[in-house]
């Protein structure tokens, strides 16, 4: 009789047809969602990457030192000399990443909610926008923003210049927006329909259900893929060097051409990598911690 009771719900339409498979399905869904949120990349920074990077850096320094003849300053001295300039470039990387993330997240939230709209045109339009920007290469979007946006706009007779780094920020905010949109949509749809039904039976309307019941449960699920996306975005900010923004990569190239010693190449580029690693690694660790914590609670 108790077996009969447990199965009876499954004959009717609704969630949970195979209760036994549910935990596995939930885990798979969560993993797939995180992966999708991270732009279909499950690659993640590990401590080993840091060690490998350090090894490459030391090797690069060794090579540079060996190749520099007498009369040249040591490699450490050279790196130290350029560090303030590189650091100024790195500030640009951070500024672009934070701003692009903020703009992309806000726009992505609207787009994500539009994706679950009950109005079909809104839903379709949001879906199309999301998938267009999600599947377009980041560099292409960056070039579009760089060359299609004017270098200045005139509003009411006031000329407002648009610096390159602003355009680069916008260019990177577009794919962020599309990815956040998918994170939001995925998280909302991952909440069991029983929660919607339960809220409806307590006379909550759709808006109240979303804001008071569904979205608060989503925040936890959205946080890890969102942070993952941020780490990826930070690493992608060096793309801005291709379009001429004075970020760290550009500054490195300038430093190298000023030194004009080919032996410095490996040392300098691995030095830049170490900076990025030092910034992104703690974020990656925190993401892993949050993911495992929420995996237990939900």
């Amino acid at each position: 009789m108790s077996d009969d009771a447990r199965v009876s719900g499954s004959v009717l339409p609704g969630p949970a047809p195979w209760p036994v498979l549910l935990p596995a399905a939930a885990i798979l869904t969560h993993e797939a969602m995180s992966a999708r949120g991270a732009g279909a990349s499950t690659w993640r920074l590990e401590r080993e990457h840091g060690f490998a990077l350090l090894a490459v850096f030391l090797l690069g320094c060794g090579i540079a030192q060996a190749q520099s003849g007498a009369g040249y300053p040591s490699i450490v001295e050279t790196l130290w000399k350029w560090t303030p300039l590189l650091a100024r470039g790195f500030v640009f990387n951070l500024a672009i990443s934070v701003l692009a993330m903020a703009v992309g997240t806000i726009a992505g939230f609207f787009l994500g909610f539009a994706q679950i709209s009950l109005l079909l045109p809104v839903k379709r339009g949001a879906w199309l926008t999301t998938h267009f920007f999600r599947n377009a290469p980041w560099l292409v979007l960056l070039f579009y923003c760089m060359f299609l946006l004017p270098f200045q706009v005139t509003i009411l007779g006031v000329r407002i210049p648009i610096p390159d780094w602003t355009k680069a920020t916008l260019g990177l905010a577009l794919p962020v927006m599309a990815n956040v949109s998918e994170i939001v949509r995925g998280a909302i749809q991952s909440i069991p329909t029983a929660q919607w039904e339960s809220a409806a039976s307590l006379a909550f309307n759709r808006r109240q259900t979303l804001w008071r019941i569904i979205v608060p449960q989503c925040v936890k699920r959205m946080l890890p893929p969102w942070m993952n996306l941020y780490a990826i975005l930070t690493m992608a900010t060096v793309l801005a060097s291709i379009v001429g923004v004075s970020e760290m990569m550009t500054q490195t190239q300038r430093a190298l051409s000023a030194e004009s010693r080919p032996g410095l190449l490996l040392a300098f580029y691995s030095y830049v990598l170490i900076w990025f690693f030092a910034y992104c690694y703690p974020i990656a660790r925190l993401t892993v911690r949050l993911e495992s914590r929420y995996a237990v609670n939900q």
Binding site: L12, P13, Q195, E197, S198, A203, R206
Partner: protein, 250 residues
């Protein structure tokens, strides 16, 4: 057994419902008096849960009519109209469906505050009283994940009661529980029925149905096969199908 009046508060007439070409309900008619307790029993897939969801407008019907208190449920179209109905009709689900990000007390307080726009202080008092009523006063700050199935189900009942509904619907509320915790949930429902709450229960607890119900409806294949007071239906079933079902489970 329970205070009743002649006027039916819930009235179903020839209700039809289908999902993707499959007929789930094929002409169900029944009445429940104010303060009455009705149990619906029957095999899996006979449309019992769907019937409850139709009564509070979660599932629209294809044909027939449903009246609950002053609402003609089959005529409700907009969300606003359905929301008005659901303030009067509460449903308790098999899987409890508490809101996992809120404590037991908050789960109970949410709807009265945000839906009925009642004073938060008064709602809190009422919620605490309801928690005490379902014997979970000490669990008020616990999250659903920290409660047993039976405790969660009692919080869910308290949450529904906080809306002060006219009618309570129970959808196999003990089916997902351990045998040990079934009793505490049934006790809660028993008290509600004794206080004169109109209850419609879909249940597999035959002994409980026999004890508590004014009328028992046996459903199979989307229709009500037999309806009678429990003593008659369980001891002297008239229909062959009813006899076959009861002999399987009793």
């Amino acid at each position: 057994m329970t205070p009743t009046s002649a006027e039916p508060i819930v009235e179903l007439n020839d209700v039809h419902q289908s999902f993707g070409g499959t007929d789930v309900l094929k002409g169900v008619s029944m009445q429940v008096r104010k303060g009455g307790v009705v149990c619906i029993i029957g095999p899996s897939g006979s449309g019992k849960s769907t019937l409850l969801r139709c009564i509070n407008g979660l599932v629209p019907i294809k044909r027939g009519s449903i009246r609950v208190a002053k609402f003609d449920v089959h005529l409700l179209r907009t969300d606003a109209q359905k929301i008005a109905l659901r303030k009067d009709v509460s449903i308790v689900f098999q899987q409890y469906n508490l809101f996992p990000h809120k404590t037991a007390l908050e789960n109970i307080m949410m709807a009265p505050i945000h839906v009925l726009n009642e004073n938060a202080v008064e709602v809190r008092e009422r919620a605490l009283a309801l928690l005490a009523k379902v014997r979970l006063a000490e669990k008020r700050d616990a999250y659903p994940g920290e409660l047993s199935g039976g405790q969660q189900q009692r919080v869910a009942i308290a949450r529904s009661l906080a809306m002060r509904p006219e009618v309570m619907l129970f959808d196999e509320v003990t089916a997902a529980l351990d045998p040990e915790t079934v009793k505490e949930v049934l006790n809660t429902i028993r008290e509600l029925a004794a206080e004169g709450m109109t209850c419609i229960l879909v249940t597999h607890e035959m002994r409980f149905a026999r004890e508590i119900a004014d009328d028992v409806h046996f459903t199979d294949g989307g229709t009500i096969v037999e309806s009678a007071p429990p003593s008659e239906l369980f001891d002297h079933p008239q229909k062959e199908r009813t006899r076959a079902f009861l002999s399987q489970i009793l």
